[in-house]
Subunit: 272 residues, 2 copies
């Protein structure tokens, strides 16, 4: 999917919501555990109920790997279902990968070509030659971790090098990489006040913002500081939507929660 | 496996060699492609031929993920084979994972419990709460990326914060984390001269050193600066051993290459 196509979907749906498909078998409704593939059954129900309210889905690969072969199969089925049934939806493999050059190429091939994701999250620690192999893929997007929403973000990301925080060095340096137009960035919502600075470095890039809701971020603040002319934001919510109920009505309740966020987003889009 | 058990194996085998099982179907001998599971067949042959010459095997998960479900199955079969046939061998899942707390727990469970690896490589960018979930596992080891052997290592890892390189901050900070005794570190061999400084920060930890051979590092230099009283080194070689021949004799040739390194190590161990 191209960036203009993503922006078109945002305008059409009046939503820049991304739903995190982080499926934990201990949290899903009990009646689903009888299904042959409970993880996929859960995802399918959530997707069927919410796909008009969001523009992206983001399975975190850890939750699938934790179930071994079965989990990997559920991930395959989920992305196949999305690509066949809803090709207009932007898909994110939240994998936080990153390795030496030729090995990063293997990861890129796995997520972009074999699984068919539109994008993958990548860690910056190993630098340019660990990220550029991902950037080579046309109409695919590499979402680089810049400033994450967890407490540990303050261990290294916000430390200063020559008076500038590490995450800002990551932003600036990444702009010089080949095919950097294929970059997006993870920026945690718990630090909305940092978004103005971030926008001065990467005014045009899309930001994937986790941590609205469950992790305490505020949607209004994120939009105030982070939105650009093309919206430029994907706001992720996982637990707050997919685990809103664990009864038989889980899909409808997830849609209600998604609709609340979507409507808040529609109001914001009308103002900006 | 405990660290004393690993050290015992090193003394017994006079080897601190780790063999990287980075299996690329385009590089393995053609006759193996007829096998039902060519990746496992290749690994099994390499393991059978080299297990007395090395103390560790390190599959890089990217190479397995690149083949989807089949690849994941090959990884499972490989680690099962190692754990059943050679429980004295230290196993490393080179996965370079790292995510927000509860998600890191999922990864830790996947690699330590379900797959049964002794250790996993982890990226430090997301800080303390992304790494500590791995450190909770008893007799399991978390190998933190400190200074990698690729060119991109100079993008962020060697930049200085308050006069000290980022990778040194990673080393120092990680020592303060809970269960930090379960940490080992990735330190690339292309920067052997940095090892003296690194040893002053983490004198007792094991270092996993990639990049000897193919990537240009020198074994003598690495040992000179990096060895401690418990040896404290695992030297990884992948391509130089496993792809030394792509004929029917590939396993024997890989054993020859492994033996060359093992003998060099035996000589070094006799001196130190």
């Amino acid at each position: 999917m191209t960036t203009p196509q993503l922006i078109e979907q945002i305008r059409l749906k009046k939503s820049f919501l991304c739903i995190g498909l982080d499926v934990d078998l201990s949290k899903i409704p009990e009646h689903l555990l009888k299904e042959e593939d409970p993880i996929f059954a859960f995802n399918k129900a959530i997707i069927d109920a919410t796909h008009q309210l969001c523009v992206a889905y983001k399975p975190n690969t850890a939750f699938y790997e934790a179930y071994g072969l079965k989990g990997w199969k559920s991930l395959e089925r989920t992305i196949q279902y999305l690509n066949q049934k809803h090709p207009e939806i932007f898909t994110i493999a939240d994998a936080k990968r990153g390795d030496i050059g030729n090995t990063s190429s293997m990861y890129a091939k796995a997520f972009f070509e074999d699984l068919g994701f539109d994008s993958v999250t990548v860690a910056p620690y190993m630098g340019k030659d660990s990220v550029e192999p991902f950037l080579e893929f046309k109409e695919k997007h590499t979402i680089l971790l810049a400033l994450t929403s967890n407490e540990g973000a303050f261990d290294f990301q916000t430390k200063t090098i020559d008076g500038k925080e590490v995450y800002k060095h990551v932003l600036e340096t990444s702009k010089t990489w080949k095919n950097s137009e294929n970059l997006m960035y993870v920026v945690g919502a718990t630090k909305a006040e940092y978004l103005a600075d971030i926008r001065s470095i990467i005014p045009n890039s899309f930001l994937l913002v986790p941590g609205v809701g469950a992790q305490g971020g505020n949607l209004q603040d994120v939009c105030k500081y982070g939105m650009n002319n093309s919206v430029g934001l994907l706001i992720n919510s996982s637990r707050g939507i997919i685990y809103a109920s664990n009864g038989k009505d889980f899909a409808e309740v997830s849609a209600e929660k998604a609709r609340e966020l979507q409507q808040e987003m529609a109001t914001i889009l009308d103002v900006y």
